[in-house]
């Protein structure tokens, strides 16, 4: 039967030429859209690797030139904040705050391997505030690490792969200055960013130039953030002439704000493609409907000669299936070039996933378009269809 369906379609390929072409084009469009959507959605679902609920961010600017004093102030502030009843943990950081629009990168090397990486200066309590997952080694600790000459750092998995391949990075020295203390599984500066190498440096280490400090405050479950109280504690240590709280926000708010544009784009693209597919279905139904009408006598003959209603319906489906396959094969050949020749940065698993989704979608839509014509065809009464005019 499948052979039969293919035969019919193949013999009529000229007549169906334009549907073929349309299916071909739409498949390509759907495929590209799927690539885009799956990439965006996978990226988004990766998240930042941090738990940002109940975390509050305070950006403190300073014009104090005395780094040592700054560090002292910051440590005191951190301790006072951490002592608040409503606060669970506090971390000092420059960078290391997700959902901010500023980036700092630098090049690092190990042996003959090089990579750029985003730099974050954080303290030892950082993991307890943002709950990043340490999978190898440990986070740096002032008690243990501040006697060393090298600046302790923690890197993310991607950076570990780039610089060390399969080797264990813990204990190794990067760029002759930094000692790897641990590896975290993942970190991204925002939900929709691509995966990049990230390196976290010990902000308190004597060898590290002190960069300034912002506070990340994790407040306890059931509590609200208390910016007024936080500010009070901060200014109780840091004189207002030298320091200014320049930003005071919930990380959840920052996340929502940063993501809103991206999410809007995704939905917009999906809607557009959705409409186009709706168009396609309409067109297919129309054309198929007309074709069935034309083939009245053929349907009559088939029934006369022994075909059942169900078989007639199945035949229509098979024909459409054959048509779709005929349209998609050349498209697949084109589309396979993408990962094969690296036209776009797509991995094979990502490619296969998008392709399966696109194929599934197209066949599903074709199936829907054929439902009504198929039923129409099976309802044709042979006696009427074969009547002599």
């Amino acid at each position: 039967m499948i052979q039969h369906g293919f035969k019919i379609m193949w013999n009529q390929k000229k007549k169906y030429g334009f549907i073929l072409f349309e299916l071909f084009v739409i498949f390509l469009v759907v495929f590209v859209t799927m690539l885009y959507l799956t990439e965006r959605i996978t990226t988004y679902l990766e998240g930042t690797g941090c738990d940002i609920d109940n975390v509050y961010f305070m950006d403190i600017a300073t014009q104090s030139p005395d780094q040592k004093q700054e560090l002292e102030h910051a440590l005191k502030v951190r301790d006072r904040l951490a002592g608040m009843k409503s606060v669970e943990a506090v971390s000092m950081t420059v960078g290391g705050v997700p959902y901010r629009a500023t980036l700092r990168t630098k090049a690092f090397q190990f042996g003959d391997k090089r990579t750029g990486a985003n730099i974050h200066h954080v303290d030892e309590t950082y993991p307890s505030v943002l709950k990043v997952e340490v999978i190898r080694g440990r986070w740096f600790r002032s008690a243990d690490d501040h006697s060393s000459v090298k600046i302790p750092v923690v890197i993310n998995q991607l950076m570990a792969e780039r610089l060390f391949g399969d080797e264990n990075p813990v204990g190794k020295i990067i760029s002759e200055k930094y000692e790897v203390k641990g590896v975290i599984s993942r970190y991204k500066s925002r939900d929709y960013a691509n995966r990049m190498p990230h390196i976290f440096m010990d902000i308190q280490h004597p060898q590290n130039d002190y960069q300034g400090s912002n506070m990340l405050i994790r407040y306890k479950e059931g509590y609200q953030p208390q910016p007024k109280d936080y500010a009070k504690h901060i200014y109780s240590v840091m004189p207002r002439e030298q320091y200014r709280i320049v930003q005071s926000s919930r990380l959840e708010g920052m996340k929502k704000r940063m993501n809103s544009n991206y999410s809007g784009d995704i939905l917009f693209v999906s809607l557009i493609v959705g409409f186009l597919l709706f168009n396609l279905v309409l067109g297919l139904i129309g054309i198929l409907g007309y074709n069935i009408n034309q083939r009245w006598s053929e349907m009559g003959i088939r029934r006369a000669v022994g075909s059942t209603k169900a078989r007639v319906r199945r035949l229509i489906f098979l024909e459409m299936f054959a048509l779709t396959v005929m349209a998609i094969l050349p498209a697949l050949i084109i589309v396979v070039q993408v990962p094969a020749f690296e036209v776009l940065p797509v991995s094979w698993p990502g490619f296969i996933q998008s392709m399966m989704l696109s194929l599934g979608l197209i066949f599903f839509l074709v199936f829907i378009s054929v439902l009504y014509p198929g039923i129409m065809a099976s309802k044709i009464r042979p006696a009427l269809a074969l009547k002599e005019e």
Partner: protein, 221 residues
């Protein structure tokens, strides 16, 4: 072979009731070659449709090759049509998107026949109608007479007991028509197929063994 007992057929549309067949009683023997005659609208095609299981009678009993047709499902009827019946129509009704060979083998697709077996049967029957050399051609490339011969081949490929022909020469010129009649007659003799032919042409009807006259849905003499 074929028994029609008190067969009636009424067509109902929204306002009108048409009595197409009125209490028909008919017995057709095996291997008979008979024709049904009558003016247009007298119910000949309807009777053929009823015999051909294409239409259900409103009243009466139909027995086909020993099987009483009563409350059969669509599937069962289709199977019966496939096994026991062959059809030839005035308008040929070939499938334009398939070539001759594929057209002829169509009934076999609805049975469990291997593709090798299909090929063999198709070849056989194409030989019989003299169109083996045109088996890869499409209906649009054939003359009317050739088309009808393909239709006959299709009707016979499954070796049915009964062949039903509705004005088979209607669209053909006299020479081609004659060819078809000769073909039918020879097949009737050689294979023993029962042939029921509908026609309004007296000359053609005279070439058959028996003529049934219909007028306004009734048998007349």
């Amino acid at each position: 072979m074929i028994y029609l007992q008190n067969i009636s057929k009424v067509y109902r549309t929204r306002n009108i009731e048409t009595l197409a067949l009125d209490n028909i009683n008919l017995e057709i023997q095996k291997s008979e070659f008979l024709s049904i005659m009558g003016p247009s609208g007298c119910g000949k095609s309807t009777m053929l449709n009823v015999i051909g299981l294409l239409d259900e009678p409103t009243d009466g009993k139909l027995i086909l090759d020993g099987v009483e047709i009563n409350g059969h499902t669509d599937k069962a009827l289709a199977a019966l049509r496939n096994r026991k019946l062959g059809f030839v129509f005035q308008n040929f009704h070939l499938i334009s998107s398939l070539n001759v060979q594929d057209n002829v083998e169509l009934p076999l697709l609805y049975r469990k026949v291997s593709s090798g077996e299909r090929k063999k049967l198709t070849e056989e029957v194409l030989e019989k109608v003299g169109l083996s050399h045109r088996r890869k051609h499409f209906p649009s490339e054939l003359s009317g007479g050739q088309c009808q011969r393909v239709a006959v081949a299709r009707a016979l490929v499954g070796k049915p007991e009964i062949l039903l022909a509705d004005e088979p020469t209607g669209n053909l010129d006299s020479k081609m028509g004659e060819d078809i009649m000769n073909l039918l007659a020879s097949l009737n003799k050689a294979l023993g197929t029962t042939i029921v032919m509908v026609t309004h042409d007296r000359q053609l009807a005279n070439q058959t063994e028996r003529i049934i006259h219909l007028f306004d849905g009734r048998k007349v003499n």
